[in-house]
């Protein structure tokens, strides 16, 4: 179950961290601007250009993300299982549109090009830091 506090962590206010592992069992950490909430069992990550992360997920579908609540600073580690990459659909369009808008402001269309969104199933959620009283 995703609490309303955890829901706030999916607004992209604090960047998240994604951890993937290669075929050779070498871990890779990367910052991601936003982890997108789909429903209580699924999250999505936008794929712009973190090639290493993308390659690792193709080879090893188990990965984790760490997200932070912008109001209480609580942190969670969420273990996930990669299901599929999508290049269309409502969520894809919504993320693509926001990136396009930003790109048009900074004239950086090549940087903010959305390649795909990666859908993962939540395996477990573990609170890492309890945070402060709001």
């Amino acid at each position: 179950m995703i609490s309303s506090e955890l829901l706030g962590a999916f607004q992209g206010i604090f960047p998240g961290v994604i951890t993937t592992v290669s075929k050779e069992n070498i871990p890779n950490l990367s910052y991601i601007s936003q982890v997108h909430y789909i429903d209580n069992e699924h999250l999505a990550i936008s794929w712009q250009f973190f090639n290493k992360t993308y390659k690792n997920i193709q080879d090893n579908p188990n990965f984790s993300v760490v997200v932070t609540s912008p109001t209480t600073f609580s942190m969670w580690k969420i273990d996930m299982n990669f299901i599929e990459s999508l290049t269309e659909g409502d969520l894809f369009d919504e993320i693509e549109m926001a990136l396009e808008a930003i790109a048009s402001m900074y004239k950086a269309e090549d940087i903010f090009k959305l390649q795909a969104i990666m859908i993962g199933k939540i395996v477990s959620i573990e609170q890492q830091f309890d945070g402060y009283e709001n």
Binding site: L7, G8, Q11, G12, I13, F14, P15, S33, F49, P70, T71, D93, E94, M97, A98, E100, A101, I102, A103, S104, M105, Y106, K107, A108, D110, I111, F112
Partner: protein, 450 residues
């Protein structure tokens, strides 16, 4: 337990506020005041009741290529009238895709764009601040951190975009987004209705203007028709009656054997026929001009020759009034104009000058050359024209012809023809007159092909 009750209380308070805002907004929308005023008040309500400090409403232009700021609240510069192209920035993208955008941590994106562009070797053309200072500044907060923008859609038409900005990263929750989304849809329909009413009012105004114009045109046509009947019924009758008297006189003198008096009658007949001739000529020209049947075929013509011909037509009247004509035009005085129209213009100007000159008066004809124009100045020393008559001299409505110094008659068409024909030949006519001192007519012709 206490915490749970507190949470429920907070939730209830929130819902109460939302309901209150929805009610206030719908009340405001229903008011019979100008749309701009209405929307400004709604933006104020959004701040006072919901804490949204920086809001802006933009409307699309007619061909849906740009959004234009229509109302704004809480910005240093109101930005009213500033344009944002479709697809440009958050608002432009919302307009283009007709979908909402919610962004937080916008500074991160900017830094990210910078870092990424330097890393990849490419150089960003502009930062957002630089962009805001360039020729096409996007309206909004300079230090924006979070932005929510909604498309207002009614009946499948984009009515407006509502943009809400904050300098605080963590400002808009999902809850805010859902509430504002439903509020904006309610606003969309009302704004669409108001816009339809406005456009209907504009249409009514436009139609009224059209009807008024048609009315003026009809009045003018009616005056034309009245003038036409008055000329045929009255002005044409007098010279014909004179001819009748003249033929009676011929019989009378013949019966009494006073043959020498017949030459006197001959002069009278000549004058009458000249009058009828000019009158019919003017009438035909004017009627054709009214029906756009006259063709203007300009070519190089010698004005001096035309003036000599006109002088010959009026030879009898000039002699009878003992008028001196001082023709100072040089030889080969060429102008670029239609021959027949120029003839009509000169004949009318000359006939007026003769008609209103006193016995023993004089008429001077001089010229003035510029690069592309020739001014012909025809000045008499006659009775002149009063200020009231000058005001309506080129106006057909209610116009009466003035009798000459020898009670010569006219139709009042002459001046109208002069003006119309000069304009058709890209020329102008200027009239200056002082009662008892005379009248000067300046005709400005083109001297070469345009």
């Amino acid at each position: 337990m206490d915490t749970k009750i507190d949470n429920i209380k907070t939730l209830l308070d929130k819902e109460f506020i939302k309901n209150q805002i929805a009610r206030q907004v719908s009340l405001e929308i229903g008011k019979n005041i100008p749309l701009k005023e209405k929307l400004s008040t709604i933006l104020e309500i959004l701040e006072s009741s919901y804490g949204l400090k920086h809001t802006m409403l933009l409307f699309p232009n007619q061909d849906h290529t740009k959004m234009i700021v229509f109302a704004s609240h809480g910005f240093a510069d109101s930005s009213i009238g500033v344009e944002v192209p479709y697809g440009q920035g958050i608002v432009g993208m919302v307009a283009k895709k007709r979908k909402k955008i919610r962004l937080s941590g916008m500074r991160y994106y900017q830094q990210y764009a910078h870092t990424a562009s330097h890393k990849s070797g490419s150089v960003l053309s502009k930062t957002s601040d630089e962009y805001n200072n360039t020729e096409n500044p996007l309206p909004g907060l300079p230090n924006v951190e979070a932005q929510l923008a909604f498309p207002l859609i009614a009946n499948d038409e984009l009515i407006a975009v509502l943009s809400i900005e904050s300098a605080d990263k963590n400002y808009f929750s999902l809850d805010d987004e859902h509430f504002l989304h439903s509020l904006t849809q309610q606003m969309a329909l009302s704004i669409q209705n108001a816009l339809i009413i406005n456009s209907l009012e504009d249409k009514v105004k436009e139609r009224t203007r059209e009807i008024e114009m048609k009315n003026t045109e009809l009045e003018k046509l009616n005056a034309t028709k009245d003038r036409f009947f008055s000329i045929i019924g009255h002005d044409l009758k007098s010279p014909i009656s004179s001819l009748k008297v003249a033929t009676d006189l011929i019989q009378h003198y013949y019966r009494r054997g006073e043959i020498e008096k017949l030459s006197e009658v001959g002069l009278k007949i000549n004058t009458s026929v000249n009058n009828v001739n000019q009158l019919l000529d003017n009438l035909v020209n004017w009627a054709m001009c009214q029906r756009d049947m006259l063709k203007c075929e300009p070519k190089n013509i010698d004005l001096k020759e035309i003036i000599n011909r006109v002088e010959n037509i009026y030879r009898e009247s000039i002699t009878a009034k003992e008028i001196r004509i001082d023709n100072q035009l040089p030889e080969n005085c060429f102008i670029f104009a239609d021959m027949n129209m120029t003839m009509t213009v000169i004949r009318n100007v000359m006939s007026n000058a003769i008609k209103f000159s006193n016995t023993n008066g004089s008429i001077s004809i001089s010229s003035n050359f510029t690069d592309s124009d020739i001014e012909i100045i025809i000045a008499d020393q006659g009775v002149g024209i009063s200020a009231e008559k000058m005001e309506v001299i080129f106006d057909l409505k209610d116009k009466k012809s003035t009798l000459g110094t020898n009670r010569e008659k006219g139709t009042g068409l002459g001046m109208i023809l002069i003006k119309d024909f000069m304009e058709l030949n890209n020329g102008t006519v200027i009239l200056e007159s002082k009662p008892d001192f005379g009248t000067t007519v300046t005709l400005c012709f083109k001297s070469e092909t345009i």
